[in-house]
């Protein structure tokens, strides 16, 4: 159980545009080590969800992974057949989404959906699968699991639906759980319950989690390491305490400074000027250069390489590279 459960190397995922394909994930490399929680954060449209979907080979058509390597639980994802890939999903790797209804069948009782998922991967009797499902419901603290087995998704609250989703996802004890904004649509008290549950499961089952979120508070609660994405590329990566405590990339710094919780009452908030550019407007060189306060000439023309500011913290920024070189 050592080594990375997910390793992505220079992955490019693109969608067709009016003038050729537009890469929405543009050369992303990352690794999720066994048992760890890696948070992939960024604002809407930065490509974080597409990165996760690429790892599971779930990029919706007409999008596709163009180049790069993706290794999931020791297997080359891009080389697997459709049926082999189906066995990986829900087996070694599972995914949960912001909106549980995208993954639950509205006209099937929730219990039998979990039973089906289990029997897809294991040859056991229906009765045995039912017993396991009720155990799982109990484990993710669905109240009255026997009764809930017989309910339809719409009869459950948002929090309970998310619990059912999580039960289904961890049924085969996956080595990697990809959680895409798992608590974003939930009320804050329900979010706290779901985050607590994810943390427990990760500790008990040793499941690694790739957490996709825009919420830096959720990152702080759950992550061991953090990777920050902007306009299709990773800009910073490091331990949670490094990225949230001493961020080096101007974008990460700006994001944290613009949080209202960091400001005093009615104190002027730090703004990142401008708007998040859309994929077809991504600038040359460093993609943050159009909004960056510390921009220098080189940023507008050259793509910054990776600078290691510590053995565990890496940043893609010309200004930081110059500082470190000095």
């Amino acid at each position: 159980m050592s080594g990375a459960v997910l390793r992505m190397g220079d992955v490019v995922t693109s969608f067709p545009g009016p003038e050729g394909r537009i890469p929405v994930v543009d050369g992303v490399s990352l690794a999720v080590e066994a048992g760890e929680v890696l948070a992939l954060v960024g604002e809407s449209g930065c490509g974080k969800s597409m990165t996760a979907l690429s790892a599971m080979r779930l990029v919706p058509k007409p999008g596709r992974v163009d180049t790069g390597t993706i290794e999931l639980a020791g297997r080359d994802v891009l080389g697997l057949s459709v049926s082999e890939m189906r066995r990986v999903r829900g087996g070694d790797a599972a995914m949960i989404f912001q909106e549980p209804m995208t993954s639950l069948n509205p006209v099937q009782m929730v219990g039998s959906q979990v039973v089906e998922a289990i029997r897809l991967h294991e040859r056991i009797s229906a009765a045995e699968a039912r017993r396991r499902t009720i155990e799982l419901f109990d484990r993710v603290r669905v109240p009255d699991p026997e009764e809930r087995f017989e309910t339809f998704p719409h009869q459950l609250s948002g929090g309970l639906k998310q619990r059912v989703m999580i039960a289904m996802a961890v049924a085969m004890r996956p080595r990697l759980l990809i959680a895409d904004e798992p608590s974003t649509a939930l009320d804050v008290t329900i979010q706290a319950q779901i985050l607590e549950l994810l943390r427990e499961l990760q500790r008990e089952l040793g499941t690694a989690i790739l957490l996709i979120t825009h919420d830096l508070g959720v990152v702080n609660e759950l992550a061991d390491r953090v990777a920050v994405m902007y306009a299709g590329r990773l800009v910073e990566e490091g331990e949670r305490s490094q990225v949230l405590g001493s961020p080096r990339h101007p974008y990460t710094q700006g994001l944290l400074q613009s949080m209202p919780s960091r400001a005093r009452h009615r104190e002027r908030l730090h703004e990142i000027r401008g708007v998040v550019p859309r994929p077809h407007d991504w600038p040359e060189g460093c993609r943050f250069s159009t909004r960056c306060e510390r921009v220098i000439e080189r940023c507008r023309t050259q793509v910054p390489g990776i600078t290691e500011v510590s053995p565990t913290q890496r940043v893609c920024c010309h200004v930081v590279a110059d500082e470190v070189a000095r």
Binding site: A192, E196, D215, N220, G245, L256, M259, P260, H265
Partner: protein, 345 residues
């Protein structure tokens, strides 16, 4: 009838907005969704009041009731000394310009077929602001500039703008009719952090510049602490706690408020560890629990909470609907608290 208070621009008393549940062939009313059930608060001129709570708590219905987009069953809504609920349609029209609302989703509140200039000038025309079309166009340009949009883009359509820019358009449209109260219903909730900061700064600046009063309806407690002067926490149709922002965040008295605050994740790496103090799900407002509506989820509930509805206790300018709260000692002056009439009706 006149408003009994001095500097409050808005004073809501005993507001009740129930929605009938109809069933059967004759569509008889078989019950009510008690969306807002005896709510009261006031906002002084130029201040910001936040109404917070989770989905279904009734905060949005309060906002819509104030605008009379929904007609409440009972209560009073004093706006600058006039009870809006006593007005007829014609009289109400005047006040519609004085109270504006900005919603979470700008695309849902901007007509996609209307040019920005017309969307902003529409309200001015309706309320007789600006003598001519050209004068209104000039005013539109000035307002766009004020919300940091390019006036030369006024003949564009909403879809040509980004999410944050569209929210600026909605704010511009609200400002165009010279309101005194703006209701912001989750106005910054759908925005990315970097854009949210821009909009919060803008709202803050506009408030200082025009002396605006805000009712901020949101579930985002970080924004509340940053922006609001006072906070009212709603749970299943009722205000369970209300007080000055810092005081309420520092010394929450109601177990629900305590649970909400404990559930906000911090971004400080030294400060990790939210607590899921509040168990279970929000109950339905069509069938609220007996006694205290929070008792099924409350970590400290006892027998009395299941049977009796707790009264509101007032202490140090903070009020709490919980048996564990206490009131100031007896010689406290009646009406000294800003929300003193919350239990009326």
């Amino acid at each position: 009838m006149s408003d009994p208070t001095g500097d409050a621009l808005l004073r809501v008393e005993g507001l009740r907005t129930w929605f009938p549940i109809r069933a059967g062939l004759m569509q008889r009313t078989v019950g009510y969704v008690r969306a807002v059930d005896d709510v009261g608060f006031e906002i002084p001129k130029g201040r910001t009041m936040a109404l917070v709570g989770e989905s279904g708590c009734g905060k949005t219905t309060v906002g819509r009731s104030i605008l009379r987009l929904i007609d409440p069953q009972a209560g009073r809504i004093w706006f600058d000394g006039v009870d809006l609920l006593s007005l007829g349609r014609r009289e109400l029209h005047r006040y519609r310009s004085e109270i504006q609302i900005v919603f979470q989703d700008p695309m849902a509140s901007l007509d996609p077929r209307m040019r920005v200039r017309d969307a902003i000038a529409e309200g001015m025309h309706s309320f007789g602001i600006g003598a001519s079309e050209s004068e209104r166009t000039e005013r539109v340009a000035a307002i766009l500039e004020r919300v940091q949009l390019d006036p030369s883009q006024m003949s564009r359509y909403p879809h040509e703008f980004s999410g944050g820019q569209r929210q600026r358009l909605c704010i511009a449209r609200a400002l165009a009719v010279e309101p005194r109260l703006i209701i912001c219903d989750e106005a910054t909730s759908a925005l990315d952090v970097s854009i949210q900061a821009q909009i919060l700064n803008l709202l803050r600046d506009l408030q200082d510049e025009f002396g605006l009063t805000y009712l901020f309806i949101t579930h985002d407690l970080r924004v509340v602490r940053y922006l609001a002067d006072r906070v009212a926490v709603m749970y299943v149709g009722q205000i369970v706690e209300e007080g000055a922002t810092e005081q309420l965040f520092e010394t929450p008295s109601h177990p629900y408020t305590q649970g909400l605050l404990a559930a906000i994740p911090s971004v400080d790496p030294e400060n990790r560890g939210i607590a899921a103090m509040v168990r279970g799900d929000v109950p339905s407002p069509s069938n609220p629990p007996s006694g205290c509506r929070f008792h099924p989820r409350c970590p400290v509930a006892f027998e009395r909470c299941r049977q009796e509805e707790p009264p509101t206790f007032f202490r140090d300018g903070q009020r709490s609907r919980c048996f564990l709260a206490t009131s100031d000692p007896p010689p406290a002056k009646p009406g000294a608290d800003s929300g003193a009439s919350a239990r009326a009706g």
